[in-house]
């Protein structure tokens, strides 16, 4: 029957093509945009690649001049110095919305400059930021605004701060915060893994067919625990964290609970499979000696599963550090929460610090768990 087969194949091909067209549409795939929007991406990437790790103390020096807006609105009795750190505007006064050039001489070299207005009522307004060169010189266009107008013969002043880094490098606030939060994440993962192990290890024996599945009652227990683990495993940790988050308000505790529940299910399943994969010989041998059931498990099963259990526990701790980062994003506390805050505040360098910390910790834990597993046989 060559015709129906050809028809069938054509139909299948058409369906497959249609499926791909639909998937392309729903994902709104626009690959050229990757290149068109490159400048935006580059900015982010640069920030991530220059994480906020170290900082230096800043020494601030301030110089100021009086600057009436508009001209003649206040008397100027100040004498402008001719040398030393000084500010020189292109005009000595300006009408509102007039632009002029402000120059600074002999200020701190290579420093960040903050130019601001001090209004007659002592409020301040940052006008613009710039940078001094190696000679302590800067030149910057400034605009006078109506708000800077004199009040009752008192003129606004132009103030310039120079911020000079002094002293050695020290850890930045971002680094300290990242380390603190990473600490929370690692230990949250440790505690949830430990608690989950304590619960999952005994239950896993009940879900192991070679231990429990004997007789009607045993088979019932086996299926009960097996489905319990499977059911709990089918919930994503993120969903679980959101549920606990609404229940207990957000913070590390609901994140920890979500992680624990998911880990119990996952470890329970892995443990019970480890128990099912033991060599049945020693169990048979101890049954033959007349040993009670619990003792048979203790002497014939437990020694066989210790390496598997330990390696699963360490592996899961490693997984949990990663998951708790994600859980942090929905308010679970720890490094994920910090990363989420940094991104929402557009503090890209700070986010970069957090991302680097996550990469390093995940790598280190992966390495560690591989080493431990290698040594266990």
């Amino acid at each position: 029957m060559p015709l129906p087969r050809l028809l069938r194949n054509t139909l299948i091909t058409a369906l497959v093509i249609a499926a791909f067209v639909i998937s392309y549409r729903v994902t709104e795939a626009d690959f050229p945009r990757l290149f068109r929007d490159l400048p935006k991406g580059r900015e982010l990437l640069t920030a991530f690649l220059t994480p906020d790790v170290f900082t230096r103390d800043l020494e601030t020096r301030t110089v100021s001049i009086v600057f009436p807006v508009p001209c003649g609105s206040a008397s100027v009795e100040e004498v402008f110095p001719a040398e030393g750190p000084r500010l020189v505007p292109s005009v000595n006064c300006a009408a509102p919305l007039e632009k002029f050039t402000l120059q600074g001489f002999d200020l701190q070299p290579n420093s960040e400059v903050v130019i601001r207005w001090r209004l007659p009522d002592e409020r301040t307004m940052t006008a613009i930021r710039t940078q001094t060169d190696a000679n302590g010189y800067f030149s910057q266009e400034v605009q006078a605004r109506p708000i800077q107008a004199s009040v009752n013969g008192v003129a606004s002043r132009l103030e310039v701060d120079t911020l000079t880094p002094v002293g050695g490098l020290k850890p930045s606030q971002a680094l300290k915060d990242v380390l603190d939060n990473m600490f929370v994440t690692i230990f949250m993962a440790l505690l949830s893994t430990t608690l989950a192990t304590l619960i999952a290890a005994p239950l896993s024996f009940l879900a192991a067919s070679n231990i429990t599945r004997k007789g009607c009652f045993g088979t019932g227990v086996y299926y009960l625990f097996r489905s319990f683990f499977n059911l709990m495993r089918s919930y994503d940790p993120l969903v679980m964290a959101t549920v606990f988050g609404f229940w207990l308000s957000f913070g590390p505790f609901p994140g920890f609970l979500a992680l624990t529940v998911v880990t119990i299910a996952s470890l329970g399943k892995l443990f019970s499979e480890a128990v099912e994969n033991i060599d049945p010989g020693p169990v048979e041998a101890l049954q033959a000696t007349g040993a009670p059931p619990l003792h048979t498990v203790r002497y014939a099963v437990v020694p066989q599963i210790v390496p598997d259990f330990v390696s699963y526990i360490i592996y899961h701790w490693d997984i949990n550090v990663r998951i708790s980062t994600i859980i942090g994003f929905v308010g679970g506390g720890g490094i994920g929460y910090y990363l989420n805050l940094s991104i929402n505040d557009f503090k890209w360098n700070q986010a970069g610090t957090a991302i680097w910390a996550i990469v390093i910790v995940v790598w280190a834990m992966d390495f560690l768990s591989a080493e431990v597993r290698k040594r266990l046989t």
């Binding site: 041998a285 101890l286 049954q287 033959a288 000696t289 007349g290 040993a291 009670p292 619990l294 020694p303």
Partner: protein, 253 residues
């Protein structure tokens, strides 16, 4: 006295491993069970201590019906029946001493032994058992660090911890280099001479001639021979092992 009366075993998949097998074993015998692989030797041995439940029939040991025993009674009966396995069935990651001590679990204090604490006399008995089989110096090695022959000797030491009146040995030398067969069977023979009844399944006929006081042969789950080893002539041999079988001697390997 062990009486096996009309024992049959049908597995859930329908395989009939034993068909109406009956024989008696007097105290102090070294009974050898022979037969091809799959003839029901292992099933028969495991029916005696009910590691496998017989489907029909009775097994009576010193006037006690093993087949009717409750779980608690069964454990008491099993304490007096040692078992040695083809694959040794040691816990590989545990020490030799722990493996031997675990033979004592049927008698030990349930609480302390669960914690891994053993009284001095049990440890002394375990060391004595290891000395008997000549590997006392390996007591603290991991079981899987020992050679096959040494592991089987640990298996015998574990059975000795039960102070058994009967030892069931399921192909105790089949996993070993044939030249080591005698080294293991001599220990069983020694125990037999001290009054322990031994029921042992074996492959090689020359070993059967050397050790058996009596022989039972199984073929497809049916007892086809019972008598002394000397009575197994060429015709009997063909009947037990089939027309194509040829005798192999362990010593000639």
């Amino acid at each position: 006295m062990l009486r096996i009366q009309n024992v049959s075993k049908t597995y859930p998949n329908g395989t009939q491993a034993l068909k109406n097998v009956s024989f008696d074993v007097a105290d102090g015998e070294f009974l050898v069970i022979i037969g091809l692989s799959g003839s029901g030797k292992s099933t028969l041995l495991r029916c005696i201590n009910r590691l496998i439940e017989p489907t029909e029939g009775k097994i009576i040991w010193d006037d006690v019906d093993i087949t009717a025993a409750s779980p608690a009674e069964l454990r008491k009966i099993r304490r007096t029946i040692g078992m040695v396995f083809q694959q040794f069935n040691l816990v590989k990651r545990s020490s030799v001493l722990t493996n031997v001590l675990s033979g004592r679990l049927g008698y030990a204090n349930p609480w302390t032994s669960l914690l891994g604490i053993w009284p001095q006399e049990d440890i002394a008995q375990a060391m004595q058992a290891l000395e008997r089989v000549g590997i006392a110096e390996k007591a603290h090695s991991r079981a899987d660090a020992l050679s096959g022959g040494q592991q089987q000797r640990v298996g015998i030491a574990r059975a000795l911890m039960q102070n058994p009146k009967l030892i069931l040995a399921d192909e105790p030398v089949a996993s070993l280099d044939p030249v080591l067969s005698h080294s293991i069977l001599q220990y069983l023979e020694q125990l037999n001479k001290e009054g322990i009844t031994v029921i042992c399944s074996l492959h090689f006929l020359d070993l059967v001639h050397r050790y058996a006081t009596r022989v039972v042969a199984l073929k497809d789950g049916v007892k086809v021979f019972e008598g002394s080893a000397k009575e197994i002539d060429r015709a009997k041999f063909k009947e037990i092992y089939g027309e194509e079988a040829q005798e192999v001697r362990a010593a000639s390997l």
